[in-house]
């Protein structure tokens, strides 16, 4: 299989810069997720790697071979398109085995061998009862699984899967993710997979490349993008509901370090103090805290210490089945708090919020890059 390397790749369409100087290496056998909102440039990146588009600047390598000028059909890539691109005049079986009959293949497969391969993949994707159907008789989710089967039926050097399971219903999505990742690890084919869905990115990626407006924001493991988001953009993308971000100022008082938000001082834990003190004392910063790192305290007696308490008013309560989200207004700020159990509060009730300051993120005010942890 292969390693895919992008070196300073830029793609422009007229005035519009779709991809802006992106470099990364996708390792041999890796499940590499490209994640970002729609319009970020995900599909353009895929088309560049597949050879359907040419870079305006920069180079693309498969292992050590520069492929900028190699035609798509000579790149040995299997591409599942987001819009399926199935052949409407062929049935499901014929669509899936189509890549096996490519004139570029050196060997001609027997009918039995083809049937064997088709059966293997359709069973995996649970579409075995659809083989005789016409494409126009299929639902969106079924079409998507046929497109995926057609891409996975051969073992190329590289799979490119563009939002390949986006249109499946919730139940199928879960099982298909597991099947897809299991299949990929078994075949060890390098795979690049795009998605706008944070849950899918976290679930599937060995590493995740996060892109926005054509630029690479961060490339790291799911674990690390959660723990060490490079900037506020990445921090906001992961986690449901989004991280709370507040403008604040780092101040020191009586040998202690505080973050001041709208006149309320929150104590920074001792261990963080020195680094922050030297570099960022008296600086404006953005503090981030995830909704499950804030707790609502309804009884005054439950307050353990009086620091890091913010008083607010409950504005909204959202129910998510296995959790509750409370929207609390504090001055002109809105704070989201997530709890796995229901809290006895009413709309417009006054509550105390306790911030777990061991879990905060601090971002530079001007660059919005993470400075802590």
């Amino acid at each position: 299989m292969i390693k895919v390397k992008l070196e300073n790749v830029t793609k422009t369409f007229g005035e519009n810069i779709a991809i802006n100087n992106i470099s990364f290496t996708c390792n041999d056998g890796e499940f590499f997720v490209i994640f970002g909102p729609s319009g970020a440039g995900k599909t353009t990146l895929m088309n560049l790697i597949a050879g359907l588009e040419e870079p305006s600047k920069g180079f693309i390598y498969f292992n050590d071979r520069m492929v900028n000028n190699v035609e798509p059909r000579y790149r040995n890539v299997s591409y599942a398109f987001e819009n399926y691109s199935l052949y409407p005049h062929l049935n499901v079986y014929e669509n899936i085995c189509f890549p096996l009959k490519s004139p570029l293949r050196k060997d001609r497969l027997s009918k039995e061998k083809i049937d064997l391969l088709v059966n293997e993949i359709v069973e995996k994707l649970q579409i075995n009862d659809l083989l005789d159907r016409n494409i126009n008789q299929l639902s969106g989710g079924q079409r998507q699984r046929v497109a995926l089967a057609r891409a996975l039926i051969r073992e190329p050097d590289l799979y490119l899967l563009d939002e390949a399971i986006a249109h499946l219903d919730a139940k199928l999505k879960h099982s298909t993710r597991a099947i897809l990742k299991g299949f990929q690890k078994q075949k060890k084919v390098t795979t690049i997979y795009t998605t706008p869905d944070q849950l899918e990115a976290l679930a599937l990626g060995d590493r995740i490349a996060i892109i926005n407006q054509g630029t690479l924001q961060q490339l790291d493991t799911p674990e690390n993008v959660l723990k060490y988001p490079k900037n506020t953009f990445v921090a906001r993308l992961f986690g449901e509901p989004s991280i709370n971000l507040f403008n604040g100022k780092l101040i020191s008082r009586e040998q202690k370090m505080f973050i001041d938000i709208n006149g309320v001082s929150l104590l920074v834990p001792e261990e963080n103090k020195n680094l922050l003190y030297e570099k960022y004392k008296d600086s404006n910063i953005i503090m981030g805290i995830r909704p499950n790192d804030i707790s609502i305290i309804t009884k005054n007696s439950d307050i353990q210490n009086n620091s890091n308490i913010v008083v607010g008013v409950v504005k909204l309560i959202e129910f998510f089945g296995d959790s509750f989200v409370y929207l609390i207004k504090f001055d002109d700020l809105l704070v989201k708090v997530k709890s796995e159990s229901e809290i006895e509060v009413r709309i417009n009730e006054k509550v105390n919020l306790q911030f777990n300051m061991n879990k905060i993120f601090i971002f530079d005010k001007s660059t919005e890059e993470r400075i802590w942890p």
């Binding site: 909102p37 919730a170 879960h174 679930a203 909204l316 998510f320 089945g321």
Partner: protein
């Protein structure tokens, strides 16, 4: 604000039955969601309430007033679609003012009301801007502002935010709830997205194949789903549902799950004694949510169900969803990451009996119904 009543509404398109004998009563000032997959009849229902579609049979009332044959303009409703169809050559102000302008309302009053609604929708700063240069979220707000400026009695929303970015969706959800809470206008919200319906609505009507499956608060639908369809449609990750056996020991009832016996859920004991045919038929469908299964890395207790972890999905810094293979079944479990689950390793599961739902294997109806 009126309540909205649908009495025995049926809608046919040619021979196709889109909505069948629908009875609904939406309370005054309520945020009511109609939830279901595509083709379930939810949009047809909304369009009949709006007067954009005629009913085939049945009647619609706003309070005591029969509106079945009234034109949309005479119903005092506002409708916002996903595609708001803003006028691209107008600026924000002109778009919002449009519904009043065509009603020949004096321009001083229009000006007052546009500014009021713009302030409420946080659009004051962009009133002069052409709508084409707005972000998706701002365009959405202009659409809502244009619908609200008429001070409607009933606010109808058809998948208004379904195709927005996740994060934009999150903030629009908050915004729509705020509008509803502040204006207290009866709101009917159609969506296929269970998360939207669950998090926003006072009550939900879940539809499938043109029929009501369940009406209830989000919590009722989640904790006590009327049937297997609702059970599988509401909640993320989806509920695990599979066949199981009732074992009738002389002293007590048990459920057999993958070679283990667990206690029969207490909330079904009375039901099962009343419907004793179940004890003879033995097989029932069991539903359990991924959060109601506890996992252990070792066999710490008896009666734990052994499986193998085939997939792990990180959710956030605390939680993960693991996919556990037991015999030929795949069971989803949502658990804390402090458990440190490992791929391809054994895991031992314990079902919380009291959170189990049981369904009729033929009809899919919850046995307690």
């Amino acid at each position: 604000m009126p309540k909205v009543i649908l009495k025995n509404i049926t809608k046919k398109y040619g021979n196709v039955l889109a909505v069948e004998n629908l009875d609904l009563e939406i309370k005054n000032g309520e945020f009511f969601a109609i939830l279901g997959p595509s083709g379930c009849g939810k949009s047809s229902t909304l369009r009949m309430i709006a007067g954009l579609e005629e009913v085939t049979s049945g009647d619609i009332y706003f309070d005591e007033v029969k509106v079945t044959n009234l034109s949309p303009a005479d119903r005092n409703i506002a409708l916002a679609f996903e595609n708001y169809a803003l006028y691209p050559h107008f600026n924000v102000y002109q778009n919002i003012a449009f519904p009043l302008k065509i009603r020949k309302i004096p321009s001083e009053e229009i000006d007052l009301r546009v500014k009021e609604v713009a302030n409420f929708m946080k659009l004051t700063d962009v009133l002069d801007v052409n709508v084409r240069s707005l972000s998706g979220g701002q365009q959405q707000r202009v659409g809502v502002a244009r619908a609200l400026i008429r001070r409607p009695a009933v606010f109808l929303l058809d998948e208004p935010i379904s195709h927005l970015e996740e994060k934009l969706k999150e903030s629009m959800r908050t915004e729509l709830m705020r509008i509803h809470n502040d204006l207290n206008v009866t709101t009917i919200y159609v969506t296929h997205d269970q998360e939207e319906a669950m998090s926003m609505a006072d009550r939900i009507c879940i539809m499938n194949f043109g029929k009501i499956q369940q009406i209830g608060s989000p919590k009722e639908c989640y904790i006590n789903p009327a049937n297997e369809f609702v059970a599988g449609f509401v909640g993320e990750p989806p509920m695990n549902i599979f066949d199981t056996l009732i074992i009738d020991k002389k002293e007590e009832l048990k459920l057999k799950i993958f070679n283990q016996e667990i206690n029969f859920p207490r909330r079904y004991i009375q039901v099962i004694n009343q419907k004793s045919e179940w004890l003879k038929r033995k097989i029932v469908r069991l539903g359990i949510r991924p959060v109601d299964i506890k996992c252990y890395r070792t066999k710490e207790e008896n009666n734990l169900i052994e499986g193998e972890i085939v997939f792990i999905e990180l959710r956030d810094e605390e939680m993960c969803v693991i996919n556990v293979k037991i015999e030929d079944f795949y069971i989803l479990v949502k658990t804390n990451r402090s458990l440190k689950p490992e791929l391809n390793k054994k895991i031992f599961l314990k079902f919380n009996e009291e959170a189990i739902s049981l369904f009729d294997p033929e009809t899919g109806i919850n046995l307690n119904r």
